[in-house]
């Protein structure tokens, strides 16, 4: 018997229902995370579950996987009523989940990670042999290949994801739930993943794909369920829906994605020039290999690349959060070198603003009220403090004005920074930085964890800033975002810029190749 399709009782003619969730409701304090949600996933299909952040997708899947108990509603798995109280019961029913943040132990080998908690024998050597035989079988049938003896810490992100899927299959998963699986992958790795998922589907595995990337839904899924505000707002077979329709269902209104207008014909003077930026981390691993970079007024330069290839370090150097081991920087009229590097205060004084990629750890103080976070970095300006005392009235007024201008919701200056949604936090941070009318703006992951509706708004604001003559450097691991925003694209891999393309020569395939290329393109 093929281990992947152990559902012989399912007649092939009429598709059986793998998962049926009926009237699921779940409330967290005052927040309704799921309200009377119905989900029906047919056996042997790929089912897309899409929605913005906070739409309730993850809550719904957590209810299915036994992390949360629903307040009301019922679940059936393969036609049998199920009460799932924890992950063990979920696994026993044939459910397997691949989380967005992998649940792997870095210091153990791949095979040890698969065994962990499911060792088939008390003696590890016997267990190892048993697991290995089974995994070889699985790898051959699914095309998921992973070096079983490599430490997980040494595996690439794509390998780790394959390992997670293998782990779920090894535990007998017949229904795979994948949470934002492509967020960390290159376009090529995404292709490979989709090939594997298609093959698993052929072999009878049911797949639930949680995502907000509608293109992927259209490509791979058979059915799609769209959630908004904790409720199902749209459900259909993929053949009967379009990207525009799904986007509208997700956001609740028409959205305009993609490129708006052409790159500006002429750009201005050089405002920032970096040469030979090199950086080694505390472990003496080289993170940046002598990078050169030039920003001109009135252009958006996009930095594409798989996360973790030096983009974060580049932003930290340019914003003054870190000093390099070698290199020079010219910012406006001042120049900096090793030993005399830029610091964040000097950067702000010189008109360089920075929207950091890590909103929670850097861009805001989550314990602060909005009106306190809204002056972070500018607290010494006379508008906000005088004689060492903060001017609370002014700060609140300024925050209210920023919220109005950038449509931050709710318009409550006293609300804790942590209580805003990701998109509204990002809007407030952008408002703060753009409100300073910077000459250079560095933006890391402008729309990570941000809803579609807010993405549209944020992109428009960035373009408006460019049109006003600011030089923008946008780092994003979302290729679509780079393509929608940038006028010039730099591609980074392994601490190097492996290619530079004007926007009209960019295609996903070309950038994807540069993203994995070792040396700079000729």
């Amino acid at each position: 018997m093929n281990v992947i399709t152990p559902t012989p009782d399912v007649p092939t003619a009429a598709p059986a229902v793998a998962v049926r969730m009926v009237d699921i409701s779940k409330r967290f304090g005052p927040v309704l995370a799921n309200g009377d949600v119905n989900l029906r996933v047919l056996s042997g299909t790929v089912h897309g579950l899409v929605g913005e952040n906070g739409a309730g997708k993850s809550t719904l899947m957590s209810v299915l996987y036994g992390f949360y108990a629903a307040d009301s509603g019922s679940i059936e798995v393969f036609g049998k009523p199920a009460r799932i109280r924890n992950a063990h019961e979920a696994i026993a029913l044939g459910l397997g989940m691949v989380h967005q943040h992998f649940m792997l132990v870095d210091t153990l080998s791949a095979i040890e990670n698969v065994m962990l908690g499911a060792e088939p024998h008390v003696l590890l050597r016997r267990a190892d042999a048993l697991v290995r035989a089974r995994l070889d079988e699985l790898m051959a049938s699914t095309g998921l290949h992973v070096k079983l003896d490599a430490l997980v810490g040494d595996l690439s992100v794509g390998d780790r994801q394959r390992l997670e899927i293998l782990k779920a299959l090894y535990r007998g998963a017949r229904i795979l739930i994948l949470d934002e699986p492509t967020a960390v992958l290159t376009p090529q790795e995404t292709e490979q993943l989709f090939a594997v998922l298609a093959r698993l589907r052929e072999q009878g595995t049911t797949i639930v794909l949680i995502t907000h990337k509608l293109k992927e839904v259209m490509r791979l899924c058979d059915h799609v369920t769209v959630m908004r505000g904790g409720r199902v707002v749209h459900e259909s077979a993929i053949a009967q829906s379009s990207i525009a329709q799904l986007a509208e269902a997700m956001v609740g209104r028409k959205v305009n994605m993609g490129r708006q207008g052409d790159a500006p014909a002429a750009v201005g003077d050089v405002v920032l020039q970096a040469q030979g930026l090199a950086l080694r981390d505390a472990m003496k691993v080289t993170r940046l290999h002598g990078l050169d970079l030039t920003l001109r007024a009135g252009e958006i330069v996009g930095v594409a690349g798989v996360a973790g290839n030096g983009q974060s370090e580049l932003l930290e150097l340019l914003s003054g959060l870190r000093a390099p081991d070698a290199g020079r920087l010219q910012l406006g009229a001042e120049s900096f070198e090793v030993g005399h590097w830029l610091d964040p205060r000097t950067a702000r004084r010189l008109g360089l603003a920075h929207v950091p990629e890590d909103r929670h750890a850097r861009a805001m103080v989550m314990d602060f009220a909005a009106w306190e976070s809204a002056v972070l970095g500018y607290e010494a300006q006379p508008a906000y403090s005088r004689g060492g005392w903060m001017r609370h009235g002014r700060m609140r007024e300024a925050t209210a004005a920023l919220m109005e201008r950038f449509d931050v919701r709710p318009r409550d200056v006293s609300l804790g920074s942590a209580k805003f949604s990701g998109g509204n936090q990002q809007k407030l941070v952008l408002a703060r930085e753009i409100g300073q009318s910077p000459r250079v703006l560095l933006v890391g992951q402008p729309t990570r964890g941000v809803d579609i509706g807010a993405i549209e708004f944020i992109h428009a604001q960035l373009r408006a800033l460019r049109d006003a003559g600011c030089a923008l450097l946008v780092v994003s691991s979302e290729l679509d975002e780079i393509l929608a925003l940038a006028d010039r694209v730099l591609v980074m891999n392994d601490g190097r810029i492996t290619g530079e393309l004007p926007i009209n020569e960019c295609t996903e395939a070309r950038i994807g190749l540069l993203m994995v290329q070792e040396e700079a393109a000729a």
């Binding site: 304090g29 906070g54 739409a55 103080v365 609370h392 709710p410 209580k419």
Partner: protein
């Protein structure tokens, strides 16, 4: 630190401490019952002893004064993201600083000049004693919790060494300095009130209580109204965000600990300048540790710390009264009650929060449903 189910602010700030205190009292009452005493009677003696007489009240506030200083010290460090266990040692050094200034200058300077100098001496000594662990934390990566604990021991042995070998009164048997001149005496509360024509029984309570209250107001203004406080809290809440804002976290560690040590050092004004009039051993008497409890119970807010300090002062004073009045009831029982309070108000402060939250919600939902006959329409998820 926050509870999983958010409580309304009023419940978090007022209801929870009261409930926690009630639970601690109930737990203590059970133990009192077990040893064959009547909890109600014991409680009555305790409350009367602490608040029932002018003299009892004075003692309560005298104890509270030191706790306010050390509680504020712990709170300032806490807002800077540091857990200062060393208030005891910093207070010891503060007393030493205050005492040294008094020994040196009490025959030469009048009180209005000398007393501020003694205060300054205490604050600077406390600050210096806290600055060493701060430096080690900021630039050498030694955890401040460990170093401040160690510095408590160092402070107490340093004081013994100095008193025994250098500062002891020549020819005296007791390990203490010669009495300071009268200029170094901080007026007692009864003396201060006598000037105003109010009769008040003599007690150790002195006008350093006002200094403590002033310090509480000062800490509040510093933390929530000054730029320095803004930066301090930014570092304490998120070092990454502070660095992004151009604030140097290392400097803030030194500043937070320095302020903390200075506040703890002011204990010397109460104990050395206000009460003893000479330098002696063990004058801090655990106030540094009680200050941690006061800061935890007072949620690191100056107002809360003042309230909690009065509570702990009342326990000290009322407890002494109980062990005196109730036969067979030792001081250890009072220590037990203090332990329960720290346990329920500090370590387990949020254990009952989910139930409280549910009860509040139930009441809220019932009243709203009664009003419009419809389940509450709630805002959509704001969590990103």
């Amino acid at each position: 630190m926050s509870s999983p189910q958010a409580l309304p602010r009023w419940a978090d700030v007022f209801l929870m401490p009261v409930l926690n205190l009630a639970i601690a009292m109930a737990a203590a009452a059970v133990v009192v019952l077990f040893v064959g005493q009547n909890p109600r009677e014991v409680m009555a003696v305790l409350v009367h002893g602490a608040f029932g007489t002018a003299r009892g009240l004075s003692y309560t506030l005298y104890y509270a004064t030191s706790f306010i200083f050390t509680g504020l010290a712990v709170a300032v460090a806490f807002h800077g993201g540091l857990f200062n266990i060393g208030a005891e040692g910093q207070a010891t050094l503060g007393g030493l600083g205050t005492g040294l200034v008094a020994m040196w200058l009490s025959q030469r300077l009048p009180a209005p000049i000398l007393l501020p100098l003694m205060l300054l001496g205490g604050a600077l000594f406390g600050m210096a004693w806290a600055a060493v662990p701060a430096y080690l934390q900021a630039y050498r990566g030694s955890h401040v919790v460990i170093t401040t604990i160690m510095f408590n021991f160092l402070a107490s042995t340093l004081l013994v060494y100095l008193l025994v070998n250098h500062l002891k009164q020549a020819g005296g048997m007791a390990i203490e300095s010669a009495p300071f001149g009268p200029a170094a005496h901080l007026p007692g509360m009864h003396e201060a009130l006598a000037w105003l024509g109010i009769e008040w029984p003599s007690s150790p309570l002195n006008i350093s209580l006002f200094l403590a209250l002033l310090a509480a107001v000062g800490v509040y203004a510093l933390l929530w109204h000054s730029r320095a406080g803004y930066r301090l809290r930014a570092v304490g809440s998120s070092e990454g965000a502070a660095a992004y804002a151009g604030i140097n976290p290392k400097h803030q560690v030194i500043i937070a600990m320095g302020l903390s040590g200075a506040l703890a050092g002011m204990v010397g004004m109460n104990e050395i300048a206000g009460v003893n009039g000479k330098l002696l051993l063990d004058f801090v008497g655990g106030a540094g540790f009680t200050g941690i409890a006061a800061a935890v119970m007072g949620r690191n807010h100056p107002f809360g710390i003042v309230m909690a300090s009065v509570l702990f002062g009342a326990l000290f004073q009322g407890g002494a009264e109980v062990s005196f009045e109730v036969p067979g009831f030792s001081r250890d029982m009072v220590v037990m009650l203090q332990g329960f309070i720290v346990l329920f108000s500090g370590a387990m402060a949020y254990v009952i929060a989910p139930w409280v939250s549910r009860v509040i919600q139930w009441f809220g939902r019932r009243s709203r449903t009664a009003r419009d006959g419809d389940p509450v329409k709630l805002p959509e998820a704001t969590h990103g």
